[in-house]
């Protein structure tokens, strides 16, 4: 199968008994867990259709667009007849296509994979491998909530936008299918009911509002308003008109800030269950995410300048598959706002066995100031037996945490100025997402050691990492007790939170290293 031009097939864990999927003839097509399969074979009879309101929900946007543009046209030309003809035609055509598309879309389990067949003229058959499932989201847009339907999204690594959305399903169907997907993905009986959950964190509304008010975009909006008010009050004539026109961008900035932080994260709760972390949020459109254990590839703690007053941080995570979708900034949020203390206690649960707050950090030597005059004293890194941590930023502080087991590759880089100063940077690569762990400006020899040590730690950590089928022990079919927190959490390393963002790290100028 390997021609000269062909990618060598090297998907880890891809091999499975041939009897499982007899028609398979192209292993490289589903290298990321999704596969298009010869559409020749017929859709099995037990496959189901999506909810019947699907064509209506999908069609209304087109109809609205047609009405807006057609209406505008009719008003401009003063001739409503064309409008009266076009709109029904668009409506009939749109819903006709919508209906056909709905009729020919069916989904169900074929063997152990979820299979979705779709397409009216060009048939498409897609398989989602359960052991490769990275996350399952149920999204309920406002219109869907009114009609009692929701969209189920399965995220797999390397998938782009809309890899496998099942839109729309009735709410019951979506919840049931999610439970089945997670059970199959975990490697336990498919009819296992949804696991119980325990709430870990809830974002109170007053704090969410506070965090919105303290955001840069909101402050910018307010500043624009104040400036305009001053101009309008003191100026005259044209200046006032010019000032008034500035209202609109100001309004947008404030609106965006409000919506971004407040609307999307309204009622944010984070819960923990044996099949992973569950996140629920949203004011108008609601989203309920499930990220199974071992799917978090990296964590980013960030603190905008003004949040420091309240000691708030936000926590974003890398989950393979989330990065491909345009709503990535929205889906990658683990905590929209929390105190540092709360964030760390959540991190202890998200990264079992790791305690990012107690990792001793080491700063860069003073000569790094040539390359980073302001922030050099904030640059620091640390590693323990579970995670590697990189700290950066004076005004906008950040702390990147990557579990050793999730390290994809390690890179050492050195530019011309760095070479002069005998410094080098080490990048720890993770799957695409908000985490960008670069350990900057270390002394040359130390950087080289970090590189080697990280490669070694990553190798060792992978052996004991959570298996893809997380309820199945790596060696056999034993179920592992997953609910219990690892010992490191249970025996509580005290709730004191030492090094963190503050300056308690050792000022080791690691030239010796």
């Amino acid at each position: 199968m390997n021609g000269e031009e062909q990618p060598g097939e090297a998907q880890p864990g891809l091999e499975r008994p041939e009897t499982d999927r007899p028609e398979t003839d192209r292993p490289d097509a589903d290298r990321q867990g999704m596969g298009l399969r010869g559409a020749a074979d017929r859709t099995p009879a037990h496959f189901r259709r999506l909810h019947p309101v699907t064509p209506l929900l999908r069609g209304w946007a087109w109809l609205a667009a047609a009405i807006v543009f057609g209406g505008q046209n009719a008003v401009v030309s003063g001739d409503p007849r064309r409008f009266a003809v076009i709109i029904p035609v668009v409506a009939v055509l749109g819903f006709g296509f919508g209906f056909a598309s709905w009729w020919f879309t069916r989904y169900g389990f074929d063997g152990d994979d979820l299979r979705i067949d779709s397409g009216v003229f060009q048939r498409r058959s897609r398989r989602v491998r359960m052991d490769r499932l990275q996350a399952v989201d149920i999204v309920r847009p406002l219109a869907g909530r009114l009609l009692g339907v929701s969209e189920l999204r399965m995220e797999v690594a390397g998938g782009g936008e809309s890899e496998a959305p099942l839109a729309y399903l009735s709410v019951d169907d979506a919840v049931r299918l999610r439970a089945e997907l997670l059970a199959r993905s975990a490697g336990i009986a498919a009819d296992t009911p949804e696991a119980p959950e325990r709430q870990v964190h809830e974002v109170q509304l007053d704090r969410l509002i506070g965090s919105t008010v303290l955001s840069g975009a909101f402050m910018f909006g307010v500043a624009v308003f104040v400036a305009i008010a001053v101009v309008v009050a003191t100026g005259s004539g044209q200046i006032v008109i010019a000032g008034m026109s500035g209202f609109i961008p100001g309004l947008f900035a404030v609106g965006a800030a409000l919506w971004y932080q407040l609307g999307r994260n309204f009622g944010f709760t984070l819960a923990e269950s044996p099949d992973g972390f569950r996140i629920r949020k949203g004011l108008l459109d609601t989203r309920s995410q499930t990220v199974p254990p071992g799917r978090i590839q990296g964590v980013a703690l960030r603190q905008p300048l003004l949040w420091r007053v309240k000691d708030w941080v936000k926590v974003d995570v890398d989950v393979a598959g989330y990065a491909g979708s345009s709503s990535s900034p929205q889906t990658s949020t683990l905590l929209p706002v929390a105190t540092y203390h709360e964030a760390i206690s959540v991190l202890r649960q998200v990264l079992p066995g790791a305690d990012p707050a107690s990792v001793p950090l080491e700063r860069v030597p003073r000569r790094a100031a040539w390359l980073r005059p302001i922030g050099w004293f904030r640059l620091a890194y640390g590693a323990d037996d579970r995670v590697i941590v990189a700290r950066e930023g004076v005004f906008y502080r950040s702390l990147m945490i990557v579990p050793h087991a999730k390290t994809q590759s390690v890179r050492l880089t050195q530019g011309p100025i760095q070479r002069r100063l005998k410094l080098a940077s080490v990048a720890v690569d993770t799957t695409p997402g908000p985490v960008d762990a670069v350990i900057r400006h270390r002394p040359e020899l130390q950087a080289r050691d970090i590189l080697e040590a990280q490669a070694r730690r990553a190798r060792l950590a992978r052996r004991v990492d959570v298996p893809e089928r997380w309820m199945v022990a790596p060696g056999g079919d034993e179920e592992v007790g997953n609910g219990d927190p690892p010992a490191a959490i249970a025996d509580g390393r005290g709730d004191s939170v030492p090094p963190r963002f503050e300056e308690q790290d050792s000022p080791g100028h690691g030239d010796s290293g």
Binding site: A10, G13, G158, S409, E444, R448
Partner: protein, 158 residues
């Protein structure tokens, strides 16, 4: 620091230098001709300046290409692949075999002509920088197969 002794560093094919020199010569020639034409049609000093620039680029390129070639290297260790390259901006990547998602072997028309191919290793991170240009086709095929086999043997999930 970027090429610590003790690793079995492998150089890439010298044909890469030939290829890059040929490409450089081609573009310098195109630029020089354009300058010449511009000088004949417009003002004479345009040609002088253009040719001077072309000459500088040519000399600089001819000096840089072998240096850049020498900087390329890769080493197959037990558990990971090392790739180093770059003169001004030096880079060294460590890619564990178990993290590999797939391997690409590419060979364009010019590369085929001088008998080289490019092997690129992909992990789940787009930032992974593990591209090895200038491998003889046999070596490229061997490396690809070896990486694929090792990737499978040391397979790990995401």
């Amino acid at each position: 620091m970027f090429a610590p002794p003790g690793e079995a560093w492998q150089p890439v094919s010298k044909a890469l230098v030939t290829l890059r020199r040929a490409v450089l010569l081609f573009w310098v020639a195109v630029f020089g001709l354009a300058a010449l034409v511009a000088g004949l049609l417009l003002v004479w000093w345009l040609a002088a300046v253009g040719l001077a620039v072309a000459l500088v680029v040519l000399i600089w390129g001819l000096w840089l290409i072998p240096r850049n070639w020498r900087a390329w290297g890769y080493a197959e260790r037990d558990d990971d692949l090392l790739v180093k390259h770059g003169v001004l901006f030096r880079k060294l990547s460590v890619v564990p075999y178990g993290r590999m998602q797939f391997v690409d072997v590419n060979s364009g028309p010019l590369e085929r002509r001088v008998g080289i191919a490019t092997v690129q290793l992909h992990t789940a991170s787009p930032a992974t920088d593990a591209r090895i240009p200038g491998l003889p086709p046999d070596e490229a095929a061997r490396l690809r197969d070896r990486l694929a086999a090792l990737g499978e043997a040391r397979a790990a999930g995401l």
